[in-house]
């Protein structure tokens, strides 16, 4: 493999990996949230203990 | 009001176990695989990692005890010494003012052509009267595996040209002269 092809592969794989994982996390959150019937963001206590700054 | 009889408090644990039984087995299997992987890695690592290579000066010093045993040698390639013909590359490597002649079989990595590149070679000492830039020697190194050992120095290709002269200070104290590349 040439240098350029190697760099392209490395960057490509990295972005695919991070994007896939990000999507998985977000989707999983959405799915479970729906299962639990949490419709409105902010209606659960998890956000408060996750990030105190978001608590007005 | 909870009127559940006392013995039913046992139920949640029982139920949970039933639900998780299948999951538990797959996780158990994964754990076993992971432990096995760690054992293999550790074994591999212990065999190789502690003394990954000998520098040229040490390899020459330990020549008697090394005999024809396989080991890895590390040194910088003297650019003017490189000769290649029919799949065999001959060159000299230097480290700590000790020089070894190398006969390498196989295709060298791409970066081998970079002057004064440090390389790690896998092979063994072979007796034979040869000539190096440091004088005569009784052995040469027969190698069939070459790895380029990159340094942690990074420089812009726009600003710096590939230098044919040895790295600063690398050969300053050596009693021999290294010829400048003539080819």
């Amino acid at each position: 493999m040439s240098e350029v092809a190697t760099v392209a592969t490395g960057w490509g794989l990295t972005f695919v990996a991070v994007a896939t994982y990000s999507l998985w996390v977000v989707r999983r959150g959405r799915t479970i949230g729906r299962e639990l019937g949490i419709g409105d963001v902010g209606s659960t206590d998890f956000q408060r203990d996750a990030d105190p700054r978001t608590d007005p | 009001m909870d009127l559940t009889p006392r013995h039913e408090i046992e139920e949640p644990g029982h139920l949970r176990r039933a639900i998780h039984r299948r999951r538990r087995w797959s996780i158990f299997a994964i754990t076993v695989v992971l432990i096995a992987a760690m054992a293999v890695i550790t074994a591999q690592g212990l065999r190789n990692a502690t003394l990954f290579f000998r520098n040229v000066d040490e390899a020459i010093e330990q020549r008697a005890e090394l005999g024809d045993r396989r080991f890895r040698i590390q040194g910088r390639v003297i650019p003017a010494s490189v000769q290649g013909e029919s799949g065999v590359t001959t060159f000299q490597v230097v480290y700590g003012c000790a020089v070894a002649l190398v006969r390498h079989t196989g295709d060298p990595p791409e970066l081998f052509k970079s002057p004064w590149i440090p390389v790690v070679l896998e092979g063994n000492w072979v007796p034979g009267d040869i000539q190096t830039v440091a004088g005569t020697d009784s052995h040469y190194f027969r190698s069939d595996r070459m790895l380029v050992k990159h340094t942690n120095e990074y420089a812009s290709a726009n600003e710096q040209r590939v230098s044919e002269s040895p790295p600063l200070g690398f050969l300053d104290t050596c009693p021999f002269k290294v010829p400048v590349n003539t080819s």
């Binding site: 960057w11 659960t44 700054r53 | 992971l34 591999q44 502690t50 340094t151 812009s156 726009n158």
Partner: protein
């Protein structure tokens, strides 16, 4: 890259949305700097561009594992005193470890590709590479342990102990290149030492570290919240199972069960 801007997302809050947008916004200059603006290396040529992923990834992985250990320590120390049993720390440890494993994997993959074009091999069992793959496998084991069904507090304590044991390897990985002879070069960036890297490359590398850190922070927060949701769901499922079981029992007599 992170989709932190979706308004229907369960795990987003205004703060993390800003973080998500920053992550996406910071990525564009990183690509530009890393793949176009920064120069090729005098020896390794274009292959040097792998450095801008490889080095930030392992730094972020180190940082994640530090967070995991710190949280695990707090979980062990404070679990009795906190109303939620310190499970906040347990969640933080778990989410950070997962992000750490992801970035360790990225470090290994980018490193192997780089190794192929510079060293001439994908893999060598030298001290750095061996300890790094051991780090990866150990934390993978940690994540597996977290999934073993058990009482949350028991599981949390087990995981915390394993996290603290696993962390021993982090300084070993980092200093392996100084302690042993390795094919791998010595650290590209280290505190208190003049970097042996030219200006543009140095700044590109630092910028990449910053960007990858923002991405990892965003991921960690969201993963934390998903773990919280998973816990809520597990608790709810358990409650439903208990009550449905009770209903079965009571159904024989009355036909209607108390569903609380």
């Amino acid at each position: 890259m992170p989709g932190g801007t979706n308004s229907t997302e369960m795990t987003a809050t205004p703060a993390t949305r800003v973080l998500g947008i920053s992550a996406v916004a910071a990525t564009a200059p990183m690509i530009l700097l890393g793949l176009a603006i920064s120069p090729a290396d005098v020896v390794q040529g274009e292959a040097v561009r792998m450095l801008y992923l490889h080095v930030p990834s392992i730094w972020v992985a180190y940082g994640s594992f530090v967070l995991t250990s710190f949280s695990s320590l707090l979980f062990l120390a404070r679990s009795k005193r906190r109303p939620d049993g310190g499970r906040h720390y347990d969640r933080l440890a778990g989410s950070a470890a997962e992000i750490g494993v992801l970035f360790t994997a990225i470090t290994l993959i980018t490193g192997m590709l780089w190794g192929k074009v510079t060293w001439g091999t994908y893999w060598q069992w030298d001290a750095r590479l061996t300890t790094t793959v051991l780090l990866f496998v150990t934390y993978l084991g940690y994540l597996a342990l977290r999934r073993l069904p058990a009482d949350p507090m028991v599981r949390g304590r087990r995981a915390a102990v394993m996290a603290l044991i696993s962390f021993i390897n982090v300084p070993i990985v980092h200093y392996s290149v100084d302690w042993w002879r390795t094919l791998h070069q010595k650290a590209s960036l280290s505190v208190g030492r003049r970097p042996e890297i030219t200006g543009e490359m140095y700044w590109t590398l630092l910028y990449s570290v910053l960007t990858v850190t923002i991405i990892a922070a965003w991921l960690t927060v969201h993963r934390y919240r998903v773990i919280r949701l998973e816990e809520l769901r597990d608790e709810e499922n358990l409650e439903m199972l208990i009550s449905s079981r009770r209903n079965e029992k009571t159904a024989d007599g009355t036909g209607h069960g108390d569903t609380t």
